[in-house]
């Protein structure tokens, strides 16, 4: 019963995820090196932030060829819960496990700041117990976070409730000024067609203890523990 946290050359958030799962939530979690070809024994997988393979060519473009990604795809196809944060989201898009792609922030600046996020769909495995429209606060830290998708894909995401988080003002309003990277539709997080793969640009693992300024990230990370808790009963 454990969570696997993938580690690519250039990942930087894996230790923070492991810390939060093990030390804050008390859930077994283990790192999974990108050369592994199996993810057997894990109940859910996390793709952490960073600069996998240097983000050469495009963020996530090379990471999708890491041996472990074939196992991740199989795991996701079988309904396993997969969460990708920041670079992990970029990798999931490049791998085709989530739709869309990422572009340089419209400000051309690397943005490292706390943002407000409106929960658009509480009925995903990643957002249990959250109210629709609830505003969460978490940090972002990226230079290429401008989510883009073609109009048809965007419509599908909208219509099927697959947009989970949008950047917003502290009051939950969608405003360009509250969108830190120019993402289409203020999109900060989406889920796959099956709902079991989630990508989000913010860093929930960096908002998991009062000492770092907030604990809203725990709401999402605790959700990964729910299947474990249910199975343990």
């Amino acid at each position: 019963m454990k969570i696997g946290v993938l580690v690519f050359p250039g990942s930087w958030s894996h230790d923070d995820f492991l810390w939060v799962f093990r030390r804050v939530l008390g859930i077994p979690a283990e790192p999974v090196w990108h050369k592994e070809t199996s993810v057997a024994g894990f109940d859910c997988l996390v793709l952490p932030g960073g600069f996998a393979h240097g983000d050469y060519l495009r963020a996530g473009a090379i990471a999708r060829f890491s041996p472990v990604m074939a196992a991740v795809r199989k795991f996701a196809d079988g309904g396993g819960l997969v969460m990708g944060s920041c670079n992990g989201f970029q990798i999931l898009c490049e791998a085709g496990l989530l739709p869309g792609a990422f572009l340089r922030n419209d400000s051309l600046q690397y943005r490292c700041q706390w943002v407000h996020l409106r929960v658009e769909n509480p009925d995903t495995p990643f957002t249990p117990g959250i109210a629709r429209g609830q505003v969460l606060t978490m940090p972002i830290s990226h230079g290429e976070g401008r989510f883009h998708a073609d109009p048809d894909t965007l419509r599908r995401l909208n219509d099927r409730g697959r947009i989970v988080l949008r950047y917003c003002t502290p009051e939950g309003r969608l405003r360009n000024a509250a969108n830190p990277n120019g993402s289409l539709g203020h999109i900060a997080g989406i889920v796959s067609e099956g709902g079991n793969v989630c990508g989000l640009m913010p860093h929930p693992e960096r908002a998991a203890e009062p000492a770092v300024g907030g604990t809203d990230g725990l709401i999402l990370l605790r959700a990964l523990a729910y299947p474990l808790a249910a199975a343990a009963r």
Partner: protein, 101 residues
Amino acid sequence: MVEARVYVTLKKGVLDPQGDTVRPALEVLGFRGVRDVRIGKFLVLTLDGVSRGEAEALVHAMCKQLLANPVIEDYRFELHDAPGAGAGAARPAAPGPSAGR
């Protein structure tokens, strides 16, 4: 050998803030009439042991699978005879004892 020069550019309609920043800079320098600047990537691939026909198909496949992301980018490429190509091309001499890497 065939050299492929690959141009990867943002699709029309995809905002290019870099280009939008460079354009007014050109204006400040006095260059008038620059309506638009789009910044992309330029890749040079040197392909061994393939005909131009084969290279054409190969480079298309490379662009589709990796070099360009079809969600945000378009690509085009030109094929050239790489320097040193042809039947009589000189091969580099075998490395001497001090040239090992």
